[in-house]
């Protein structure tokens, strides 16, 4: 018998994909609802490998979804809720049209909420998963928290965003999780590290709200994203507070409760309330102590672990530990012209205390006249009244100190001084392999020796010695066992030489010697570790490990290494040039001086 002819596109790529229209038909949803549920459930359109086949032969570019994705959506209980909501909205519309306003108000009061907490759990099965995806969430929430009520955005959404973001900032303060700050023209970039996950987000500068033009952004879509993200951020906050032994929800100022949103019409006042809220420590759960500091890094002796890397990691941990308590016990006073929000957040993150002008803004904790204030942050060229007991610094000092992870010397940041550039901490590693002039290096690393004339030569010498070491290592087969054997032989010889003095019957002696040798116990020699030899060994081991690089990755590895070498060489060359130039300048200077001196002498003698 002839089997039934297979229909085209009933298997393979044609069956894998589904156009948006087909999906709408299958799910029996309107486009609006479909968009919403896709955003909530994290279903995204797909790009097929072969579009022609995926679209079942149709031309053009259509929005395609995985059939499996749509089938997955089919099982979502919210789907029913959405359909119910549609009829509910029809009821409201009808009531409005029939002028039954009482009925309409009742419908509006009992408007059914859609619960999406199970979706949060479904999309992020573990807490770490949620943290990993927090970048977008935080950026959008911070952005929406600056918005007034807009046409297509639910009324309470920006309010909720405000509350949740402040709560999150409090959690960061309590956890001391902030690592990097960058002030850009776009806004403030913050990077925190929570549970080993780095989260980066942008907070816009606080301007008054800029009107958004309609044709650029679809507000409805963005607000749906925010709807999901607020839910997620809420649960993340809850979890964070509980892991930090804090009470959730924290009692913030009255401005953040949902019922009083009408009272704060004034934007300025809202901002100051928000900052004031940040200056209050959060209530801890009774009986709970501070969260214990994490123990030092455990060292697992794995074979392939690079000792250098381990050392780096240790150093990093030490630095972070220092960073966490950088501002501890220091009091800051923020002048009125300085944007307070980022500064309060940062200073409180590292244990400092902050206050500001009591008359202008709420939430000040101490007065300007307090003598224990260590730093006053000022953004104006001069001040009339100054206290001797404190430093007057510009706000950039705080940001740069955080990025440098130490308190920077303040001489460059004093009031009225021309500031050094604010560098980005978000640089990739490859940028380390670029030549930096000594001035810049000093700027980046305050521990570096201040600019000296002999500094260049120093590094050169170091490098030269490195090269020498490499040469030497090839000559000597550094083997500690061999050295030990040599030592042992020498000792044995010494012993034998002392015995030779007796000089009796060589035959017997020989036998005795042999016997003695067999049962001799020599004194133990402590095994000395040669640092140099060890280095050589490490290098050899490294080379061996290099050989184990898979063939698949070998070329890549080689090219990477070659690139590193090349960049190193370039740096070396540029440094050498700089050194020569510096020396030349020095010589010239000396000559000039000598000349001057000679001239002066001549003038004196003449």
């Amino acid at each position: 018998m002839v089997s039934k002819k297979k229909k085209k596109y009933s298997s393979g790529e044609g069956a894998q994909f589904m156009t948006r229209k087909a999906a709408l038909k299958k799910l029996q949803l309107t486009l609006k609802d479909f968009r919403r549920i896709c955003i909530l459930k994290g279903i995204y359109p797909r790009e097929p490998r072969n579009r022609k086949r995926a679209q079942k032969g149709a031309g053009g570019i259509k929005t395609l979804y995985h059939t499996k994705d749509i089938k997955f959506l089919l099982h979502e209980p919210i789907l029913w809720k959405l359909r119910e909501l549609k009829t509910y909205q029809q009821k409201i519309r009808k009531a409005r049209a029939m002028r039954e306003y009482r009925q309409m108000r009742r419908y509006l009061r009992d408007y059914p909420d859609i619960n999406i907490d199970h979706i949060v759990k479904e999309r992020y099965p573990t807490f770490v998963d949620a943290l990993r995806d927090l970048d977008d969430c935080l950026t959008l929430c911070f952005l929406f928290s600056t918005f007034p009520s807009l046409k297509r955005v639910p009324r309470d959404q920006s309010m909720l965003c405000r509350r949740l973001t402040v709560e999150f900032m409090h959690a960061v303060i309590a956890a001391k999780a902030l690592r990097k700050v960058f002030v850009s023209v776009k806004g403030y970039y913050y990077q925190v590290e929570i549970e080993g996950q780095t989260i980066t987000w942008i907070v816009p500068h606080h301007f008054s709200f800029q009107p958004q033009s309609k044709d650029e952004v679809d507000f409805k879509i963005m607000s749906t994203f925010v709807e999901f993200y607020t839910m997620m951020l809420g649960f993340v906050n809850f979890k964070l507070y509980h892991s930090l032994n804090l009470v959730y929800p924290p009692k913030l100022t009255a401005a953040f409760s949902a019922d009083s949103d009408k009272d704060l019409v004034d934007e300025q006042q809202y901002v100051s309330e928000r900052i004031a809220a940040m200056n209050i420590p959060v209530v801890r759960i009774t009986g709970a102590n501070e969260v214990e500091e994490l123990p030092e890094i455990d060292i697992f002796n794995t074979e392939d672990e690079d000792p250098q890397k381990l050392e780096e990691a240790k150093e990093e941990a030490e630095k972070v530990k220092k960073l966490k308590t950088m501002f501890k016990g220091l009091k800051f006073y923020i002048n009125r012209e300085v944007p307070r929000e980022p500064l309060v957040f940062i200073i409180r993150c590292f244990g400092g205390e902050v206050s500001w002008d009591k008359d202008h803004f709420v939430g000040a904790t101490f007065d300007e006249s307090d003598e224990s204030i260590a730093y006053q942050i000022v953004d104006r060229p001069s001040m009339e009244k100054q206290y001797l007991s404190r430093y007057y610094i510009q706000p950039q000092w705080v940001f740069d100190s955080v990025n440098a992870r130490t308190l920077l010397p303040i001489n460059k940041y004093l009031m009225g001084a021309v500031l050094p550039p604010h560098l980005s901490p978000f640089t990739d590693k490859i940028r380390d392999q670029v030549y930096k002039p000594p001035e810049e290096r000093e700027l980046l690393d305050p521990n570096l020796k201040p600019l000296n004339d002999d500094e260049g030569s120093d590094t050169d010498v170091e490098e030269a010695s490195d090269e020498d070491a490499e040469e030497k290592e090839e000559d000597s087969d550094g083997d500690p066992d061999e050295a030990l054997a040599k030592q042992y032989q020498q000792e044995v010889e010494d012993e034998s030489s002392t015995e030779d003095e007796d000089d009796i019957d060589p035959e017997k002696k020989k036998i005795a010697k042999e016997k003695k040798k067999a049962m001799a116990v020599t004194t133990g020699v402590p095994h000395k570790e040669h640092p140099y030899q060890k280095e050589i060994e490490d290098k050899q081991a490294f080379r061996l490990r290099e050989k184990l690089v898979r063939k698949k990755h070998r070329n890549l590895y080689k090219s990477m290494k070659a690139g590193q070498e090349k960049r190193k060489k370039e740096i070396w060359l540029l440094r050498k040039k700089r050194r020569l130039l510096d020396e030349k300048a020095k010589e010239e200077k000396k000559a000039e001086k000598r000349k001057q001196r000679n001239q002066a002498l001549e003038a004196a003698s003449a």
Binding site: Y44, P45, R46, E47, I61, K62, T63, H66, D69, K71, F72, H75, P77, D113, D117, V120, K121, Y124, A130, D135, D136, T139, L140, F182, V183, S184, V185, K186, G187, Y189, T200, W201, I202, P204, F207, Q212, K214, V217, I221, M222, M231, G234, F235, N237, F238, K239, A258, E337, V338, P339, D379, P395, Q396, P421, H422, L423, S424, F426, E440, N555
Partner: protein
Amino acid sequence: MSVVKKKKHVSKKNKKAWRKHCDIRDVEDFLEEQRLDERLGKFDTKPDSELFVVDTQGDDDDKAKDIKSETSEKVVKPTSAKERKRQQLSKTPKCYEILIPASKVPDPNAKRNHVNPVGSRPTALSKITEKKREEKGKFEKKVEVARKNRKIALDKKRKAKSIRNNFDLDLWGQDLPEAKGIPETLCDDFIPPGALLHNVLPQQRLRPKPPPPKTIVTRSAVDTPHPGISYNPSFKEHQELLQEVVQHEQKMMKREAHLLRVTTGMFSKVTPEQKENQWREEMSVGLPQPHNPANDPSDNETDNEYKAVNPPVKNKKKDHKARRKQKEQLEEKERLKRKKIEKKKISDLYRLRQLQSTISKTETRQAEDRTKRVTKRKIEEATALPALNAHKTPKKEPEYVDPEQLSGDLRTIKSTTNLLRDRFESLQRRGALAASKLMMKKKRKLKSYFKAGHKVTEKDIERYVTRSAGKK
């Protein structure tokens, strides 16, 4: 002697023929009987008491009884018409009797849908009576249950709302069974997980979600900022940023110029006069032209002999000599070629090393090119914008920071970037959203006109002005 009837062979090809030659009366009888049985019940199954009556009286009694009953009926007969009517009320009306199924044949559709009869829906009247009875306290229990249910529903709603406000739920604390689609009633400590999973409703059973697209997973949500966009950048980094912007702008300009050249530039411009002339020329093709003596064909070249425009082809044969020459030439050519090849073979022997080196060189070059191509393709794949829609995803543009805007202090920062749009485009670039152009609804153009009597023309104004002037 019985005569054996010879069997007659007849065709029973079709239904008609079959009917004609086959005796099926017994089958039909049987079926008839069966139907009758179904209708009236089977004789064999019926008890004897139903079929037979034991005659206990004689014939005389019977007759007497008949008479008696007639008389007694007359006695029992209700006197009033009202009572008679009332008695009939409980009976099914005659007109509906036919609708009552009399057949004993069971309904072939065992599970017939139940349809509510007409009177079962509460009417306005029944509602009022019900309400009255409720007020009297007839359905106390019912009211209580309803109140309870309402409270449960409200509590549930309130709980859901409070979660939305307080997030009072440790989502990642323990494995919430509700998330797996297990019904809430089954979420108890005493029910083993196996039983839980067994009882997951089929409509809620979790399908594994296919993994999200690669672009979403690999591309970062917040890009690392260029160091040049710092509010107080170092000179070098700012210059780098500007350089990027310049390059980007140059690329755009180049592209624009290309498009201009390829589209608008392809067509030459024509002045209206030229166009007119062209048109005239084209339109007058084939029309008799005015006589122009300059265009006259000159007679001096023609010698009155007829010449076809396309003279016929002549089949001119080659002679033997020409053929031989041609052959010889071909052979000579071939010989030279062979010779050259032989010579090359010998010389190649001496060039072996060189050949080898060239081969190896080309191979290495090809390998390099290949790796380059592969890496380039990989990079392009990693950064390619997803095509999810007919609209194009906007490319990422370098941020431009005007050097004049850089004041170096936080107070006077000015920003030109729209962070919301930035987010929106980032989502599009990651493939979370299909690129879109917001379709603005076109405002309906309204024609405005004056109502006939309300038109104010300049004449009217003039008249008004003159009149008002005259009044003064």
